[in-house]
């Protein structure tokens, strides 16, 4: 039997190891590149007027996106008000009441599938059920679209977090004569509180950077969002419109808006991750 030399195997191993280091470095470099560009170009567009002022026409100097900042905030808030309670209820059902039932398995399955449905499809759907009957774009529709995105995420994290609550806790509460709903609400929820908060924060981070579902629903508007029943300004669609425009000052404003959105989303993500890590410790 002829001995196979060792060095080709060693070489292949070293090559792949080097490739793995390079790939990891590449991934990090891309992240750093994107963040650096956003920080650098965004920071130069940012000033006090940018946060407090109103949009200006192309060519004019100054101006800000106060309306879009407020609009994004309102639409996201609306999405949370609708999506979080429903999502939590679904999660509670899955974790506490649905154990072993076929219906629960089906719902769980669909929750997972729904997380993967493209956000633009959700936007399209809300367009057909809210915008078409109403006859105009509205902030309400935007909120509804985002709430449909947040719902499955909240449902799944709620279920996961409730599943972490030890069973003896439930049993002792029930043994003291507390009804099921009371046990869930006052004992299980309290035990899982910070986990639930983490889930909601992550879900908010996910929707606050969303653009596609807002294109067909909230649209955009150069005015102050007086009510949510008309087209509502928001940061992400503003970025889209401004970036696609040929005007330098609008493009600069788009970078400023990108900066705000990125900062917000990353801050939310990092904070919720830190919370989660504290829990597991």
């Amino acid at each position: 039997m002829r001995r196979r030399p060792v060095w080709p195997r060693r070489l292949a191993d070293a090559a792949v190891k080097a490739a793995s280091v390079l790939a990891a470095a590449l991934g990090l470099a891309m992240l750093a590149w994107i963040l650096a560009v956003v920080l650098q170009r965004g920071a130069s567009a940012l000033n006090w007027r940018f946060i407090t002022g109103m949009p200006v026409p192309p060519g004019a100097e100054g101006g800000g996106l106060a309306n879009a900042i407020v609009g994004t905030f309102l639409v996201t808030l609306l999405a949370c008000v609708i999506g979080v309670p429903i999502g939590m209820m679904a999660g509670v059902y899955l974790a506490e009441f649905g154990a072993g039932r076929t219906l629960a398995a089906l719902v769980r399955f669909l929750v997972n599938v729904m997380i993967g449905v493209p956000s633009i499809i959700i936007g399209l759907f809300v367009y057909t059920i809210v915008v078409l009957p109403a006859g105009h774009f509205s902030g309400w529709a935007g909120g509804v679209a985002l709430s449909l995105l947040i719902l499955p995420v909240v449902a799944r994290t709620t279920e996961d977090m409730l599943a972490l609550v030890p069973n003896p806790l439930r049993e002792s509460s029930l043994a003291l004569g507390a009804p099921r709903w009371r046990t869930t609400l006052h004992i299980v929820f309290r035990a899982a509180r910070s986990g639930l908060l983490t889930g909601v924060l992550l879900a908010v981070a996910r929707i606050s950077g969303e653009t596609a579902p807002l294109l067909f629903t909230a649209l955009n508007s150069p005015y102050w969002p007086r009510s949510l029943s008309g087209p509502t300004a928001n940061l992400t669609v503003t970025i889209f419109n401004y970036a696609m425009s040929p005007y330098p000052n609008w493009q600069r404003a788009a970078w400023g808006a990108s900066f705000l959105i990125t900062l917000g989303v990353l801050a939310l993500t990092v904070v919720s991750r830190a919370l989660a890590r504290e829990r597991t410790r």
């Binding site: 891309m30 994107i34 560009v37 956003v38 059902y93 449905v117 493209p118 057909t128 653009t211 970036a243």
Partner: protein, 288 residues
Amino acid sequence: MFVLVAMTAILLELFHHSRVSLARFGWGFLTSVAWNPVTREFGAASSIFGTIVSTVIALLLAIPLALVIAMFLVEVAHPRVARPVGYGIELLAAVPSIIYGMWGLFVLAPVLAEHVQPRLQAIVGGLPLFSGPPMGIGVFTAGIVLALMVLPFITAVMRDIFTLVPPVLKESGYGMGATTWEVTRKVTMRHGMRGMVGGVFLGLGRALGETMAVTFVIGNDHRIAASLFASGNTISSTLANEFTEASEPVYLSALVELGLILFVVTLLVQIAAQMWLRRLKRRLGADL
């Protein structure tokens, strides 16, 4: 409960609103390349083509990268290095897609146009795949941006699989004198192949439906070009670009039908991925 209703409602609504176009174009909608709002001729072929091509490029780039990154995180790097690096890779998933779009259009595209694409042409020149003016925007760029976006998702699944392989199996490999790469290729990958396929499916679902980043960089042109450097479009970019302009009922209906196609396809991909991963979970007895 609500989730169940919502999913059914989405399907029904999209179906309902695309009936005008369904009735008018029938199955030909899937194969027609026409897209002319003036003559009201619509076909989905170019959008479907662009979606498939950009997704394939993204996966071709992302799968090997994700594999070696996962290997780096689990087998090669010291935990003290692996943790922050893994965190950074996961953060790639948190960056909003519109930011990828901005970066792709204003930063990556010029770099590609000036440095990468001309060199590629110089190396493999003559192939129709890389012909045409290097504009920076197009299907190729869209694929790169998509690859970066699905990378964290595929990496996460792969990393789980690396850690799920029973240590005994790996140790027997090392005990036989195998190198790290050999253990990865012949033990881990064989053991976790099904899980990796599931992870790829998750990435596939993401890439298919991604909208904003692609809309920024793909050029939005209704045509099927042989060159990867030419501009094209995808289902979702067409929707994002033209929906608010669609005034004719037929136009609108055709766009909704595009959405319906995308929804059905991603639904199938998701369902397949979920079933696959669930079966796997039962087999390995661990949480993925």
